[in-house]
């Protein structure tokens, strides 16, 4: 689970062009949106692309993204949990 979270942070930094942000800057439980990273609605859509590209998970409704992308923890949780 820890390396998944590490990977997620690296992937997010790369996918969202977060210059000058290190893996150590992103806390596992900190809100990704409305926090210090300055992510907006377009970044949320890029995270949907990220999930599909790296984990083969498709989100077809961007509204669902709000819960999934709340934090690194919630993302990792979603990736590892069984889906119907």
């Amino acid at each position: 689970m820890t390396s998944l979270k590490e990977d997620l942070k690296k992937q997010i930094i790369e996918q969202l062009n977060l210059e000058d942000v290190q893996v150590s800057d992103i806390q596992d439980d900190a809100p990704l949106f409305g926090g210090g990273l300055g992510l907006d609605s377009i970044d949320a859509l890029e995270l949907i692309v990220l999930l599909e590209k790296h984990y083969g998970i498709k989100i077809t409704n961007p509204e669902k993204g709000k819960d999934v992308f709340y934090s690194i923890n919630s993302m990792a949780e979603y990736i590892t949990s069984p889906k119907g």
């Binding site: 969202l16 062009n17 970044d43 859509l45 890029e46 599909e52 590209k53």
Partner: protein
């Protein structure tokens, strides 16, 4: 800026040219890194102009018209966006939103909270007649000043020229304009 070189690209630095200018100008704007090259250069040029001429920021929020132009439209970003779905597996939303040349006007407006007139035109080369005429037209309507720019970016070719036109500075509008007159050097 006004014919004088105020910053030169550092070829050895790991940072690209826009990041160098950003840091050198001591700017702090988190949206900067999301922008495409067109918007970055337009944004940086505007910030440098504002630093040089404080009165730009004294205008009312809808008194400045934004008049920009180039010849290649958003081709630089278009190529990157096309690559995202042809080669990288999926169309990128953060690239797609920059595949219109007028987005750079939006970025300047957002940064400065300017609600004035907007126009983006495409010309084969910088058309000083058009800018001179159209600035005069807008200045005779509701506009008090025009922030104008030629922002032409494709691959390594960067040709950026911005100028600010006010009602009192009539002479400046009529001079034939050349691309070296601003602070950003372009490299082929």
């Amino acid at each position: 800026m006004n014919g004088e070189i105020i910053f030169r690209k550092d070829e050895i630095s790991a940072d690209d040219f826009t990041k160098q200018i950003y840091k050198n100008s001591k700017l702090d704007y988190s949206k900067f890194y999301k922008m495409d090259l067109l918007s970055k250069f337009a944004f940086l040029g505007t910030e440098i102009l504002k630093a040089h001429s404080k009165k730009i920021t004294e205008y009312g929020d809808d008194e400045i018209a934004l008049l920009f132009s180039n010849s290649v439209s958003s081709a630089d970003t278009d190529i990157k966006f096309q690559k995202s779905y042809l080669e990288e597996g999926s169309p990128s939303p953060s690239l797609f939103v920059y595949t219109l040349p007028n987005i750079l006007i939006g970025e300047i407006a957002i940064r400065n909270k300017w609600f004035g007139e907007n126009l983006f035109t495409i010309f084969p080369k910088f058309d000083s007649d058009f800018f001179a005429n159209y600035c005069n037209i807008l200045l005779s309507k509701n506009t008090e000043a025009c922030l104008c720019g030629w922002i032409n970016i494709l691959d390594e070719n960067v040709d950026v020229f911005l100028f600010f036109v006010e009602k009192t500075e009539v002479n400046r509008i009529n001079s034939p304009l050349n691309s070296e007159a601003l602070s950003i050097l372009y490299k082929k």
